[in-house]
């Protein structure tokens, strides 16, 4: 598998990463070499093997349903560039 210039631009845009025209071709080369490396895995026959989801066989941990968190609005917005009354303020987004 390899990617072309347009795919790299599209992926960058979906990830909201600004990439200049000059960077695109360099990135395309780098991505393709990574993809080529990963492609070695295709040499292994994994037919009939379930995808591994955990290194050790274990069940997903579950919480009991009780309120144990919250009430820290000031902490939540502490790093925000702009706030008011503990709301986050962001540049206007409206459909």
């Amino acid at each position: 598998m390899s990617v072309d210039l347009d795919t790299v631009k599209r992926v960058a845009r979906l990830a909201r990463i600004a990439v200049t025209e000059e960077d695109v071709s360099a990135l395309t080369g780098k991505l393709n070499s990574i993809l080529g490396f990963v492609e070695h895995l295709d040499e292994v026959d994994v037919s009939g093997v379930e995808p591994m989801t955990s290194v050790i066989p274990m069940e997903m941990k579950k919480r009991i349903d009780e309120v144990t968190d919250g009430g820290k609005a000031a902490d939540i917005v502490a790093n925000a560039p702009a706030t008011e009354d503990n709301f986050f303020l962001v540049p206007k987004v409206v459909e």
Binding site: R10, R13, L14, R16, P51, T53, S54, M58, E59, M60, K61, K62, R63, I64, D65, E66, V67, T68, D69, G70, G71, K72, A73, D75, I76, V77, A82, E84, D85, N86, F87, F88, L89, V90, P91, K92, V93, V94, E95
Partner: protein, 499 residues
């Protein structure tokens, strides 16, 4: 998903266009907020309202290093809902990341389920109607799947000229997305489906169904076609928040699409919004590029697995659902119409069952539907605010049954209990509302009416149906308390009218 047409076009459901009839095809995605104390993957509260960002944990705010841990109750509720929808329960399901950017989505992805949802295919049986003859049509709407996912936060755009305000209190609250198959063919069917779905969720206690608080929202997919032709291109109307609006949105959207097609145009697959003020749908500014959510399994979460024994245990504890309750009520001799009204809300059904306990079901149904629900409706109250308890209404019915009061006086008694409360039996005693069954007293009243109206006595000889007038006069004279059957018999006997 492959779309399968399960219905046969029927003329009565078609929409006439300028160039012939059209059929509307509807499918729905309903987002139902799970009833739980805390969020799907964090210990913050799910309570509605709350000060800005007060019900938010560091997990919900997507702070670095935070890990989601699933709430066992949300899993339980999703499985119970699946059982209520007679659906396949998947003992293993997987959480995926649905990636997109929006300010009210701090993670940059929503944790959802894509390829392996917790619940698979199911069925909702919907009674559409009643029509003018009081008949219902039963249709089956297929459920494609139900999956668990996180809600997003809330943005407010009207507080500031250049900024939007973001509150994450809802962020991370558990939602069930319930996806129907495209099995509905009219706005009435779509409204009936949503009503039924809400009723099932409320019976189960898995979602409170309060659409005005946003606990239940519907995305409605609408397309039109000539009957018998393949499905047309659909438009999705997002976030419709009342059952009435769902109906209006479909009616508008179907006609909009028909007008375009009849003018030789074509439908663009797009997302639209319903504007309740104008009663129309409009295009959301089209996205610069098609959504590409790049789903992949969330590496923070192991697959969700449970045993069949866990499912069986939940199934055994499921409450009686509207369909079963309706069948049981009909077996008690109630009409489908009456049974449908009584099971529409679990609280109404519970009320009715208390009244009907040890009494005639039909009489109990009539009183609950015509008198109680009528009065509640007029007063703008819900069943939970009723001033008349089941025991009080039951006592009123008992007093009619044992002949203490007439049906007419019972209506007055109901009104007194409604307004003032109290024990119906004591009220009847105290206010002298007892039916007069003492023939002597009735006879006196009949004699008086006859003596006072010699002209009418002459008339009745030629026209025996006039007897009714005498009965009316006697009832009036006795303040409605005389037993009507006894009055009628005496009037006829005294006037010499043959039975």
């Amino acid at each position: 998903m492959t779309l399968i047409d399960t219905r046969t076009p029927e003329p009565k459901r078609l929409i006439p266009g300028a160039t012939g009839d059209w059929e509307v095809i509807i499918g729905m995605e309903v987002h139902a907020q799970v009833v739980s104390q805390s969020k799907l993957f964090s210990g913050a509260s799910t309570a509605f309202g709350g000060a800005p960002n007060d019900h938010v944990s560091l997990v919900d705010a997507a702070m670095p290093g935070m890990l989601p841990v699933i709430n066992a109750e949300c899993v339980r509720q999703a499985v119970r809902t699946g059982l209520g929808l007679k659906a396949q329960i998947n003992l293993k399901s997987v959480f995926d990341r649905k990636n997109y950017f929006y300010p009210d989505l701090p993670q940059g992805y929503q944790i959802s389920q894509f390829k392996q949802p917790i619940v698979g295919e199911g069925i909702v049986t919907v009674a559409v109607g009643p029509d003018k003859q009081g008949n219902f049509e039963s249709i089956e709407v297929g459920v494609e799947r139900l999956h668990l996912e996180q809600d997003a936060g809330k943005s407010m755009h009207d507080q500031h000229p250049t900024m939007s305000y973001v509150d994450l209190n809802r962020s991370g609250v558990a939602l069930m997305e319930i996806v129907s198959k495209p099995d509905m063919r009219s706005s009435d069917e779509a409204k009936a489906y949503l009503t039924k779905l809400r009723s099932i969720l409320r019976y189960l206690g898995t979602c409170d169904g309060n659409m005005d608080e946003g606990s239940m929202r519907a995305d409605v997919n609408v397309s039109v076609r000539r009957p018998g032709e393949p499905f047309g291109t659909r438009c999705e109307i997002k976030n419709v928040n009342s059952i009435r609006f769902v109906g209006q949105a479909i009616e508008y959207e179907a006609r909009r699409q028909i007008a375009i097609l009849e003018d030789g145009g074509s439908i663009d697959q797009e997302t639209r919004l319903f504007d309740p003020g104008k009663g129309e749908t409009r295009s959301m500014r089209s996205k610069e590029e098609a959504h590409d959510y790049r789903y992949f399994p969330d590496p923070d979460l192991l697959p969700l697995e449970f045993t069949q024994a866990f499912v069986d245990e939940l199934a055994a504890d499921l409450p009686e659902l509207p369909d079963e309750k309706k069948a049981r009520f009909m077996a008690m001799g109630l009409s489908e119409y009456d049974a449908s009204i009584l099971v529409s809300e679990r609280a109404i059904a519970d009320y009715f069952e208390k009244v009907a306990d040890g009494r005639d079901g039909k009489a109990a149904a009539n009183w609950v539907i015509n008198d109680l629900l009528g009065a509640l409706n007029k007063a703008g109250k819900g069943i939970d605010e009723t001033p008349v308890s089941p025991a009080q209404l039951g006592a009123v019915i008992d007093l009619i049954k044992d002949g203490t009061i007439s049906g007419k006086i019972a209506k007055d008694l109901f009104e007194i209990v409604w307004n003032e409360g109290g024990d119906p039996k004591a009220i009847v005693e105290d206010r002298g509302m007892k039916q007069v069954t003492d023939t002597g007293a009735i006879e006196t009243a009949v004699d008086e009416v006859i003596a006072a109206n010699p002209d009418k006595v002459e008339q009745v000889k030629a026209k025996p149906t006039m007897a009714g007038w005498f009965v009316g006069q006697v009832m009036k004279a006795t303040g409605g308390k005389a037993n009507p059957q006894a009055v009628q018999a005496l009037v006829k006997a005294k006037l010499g009218i043959e039975e």
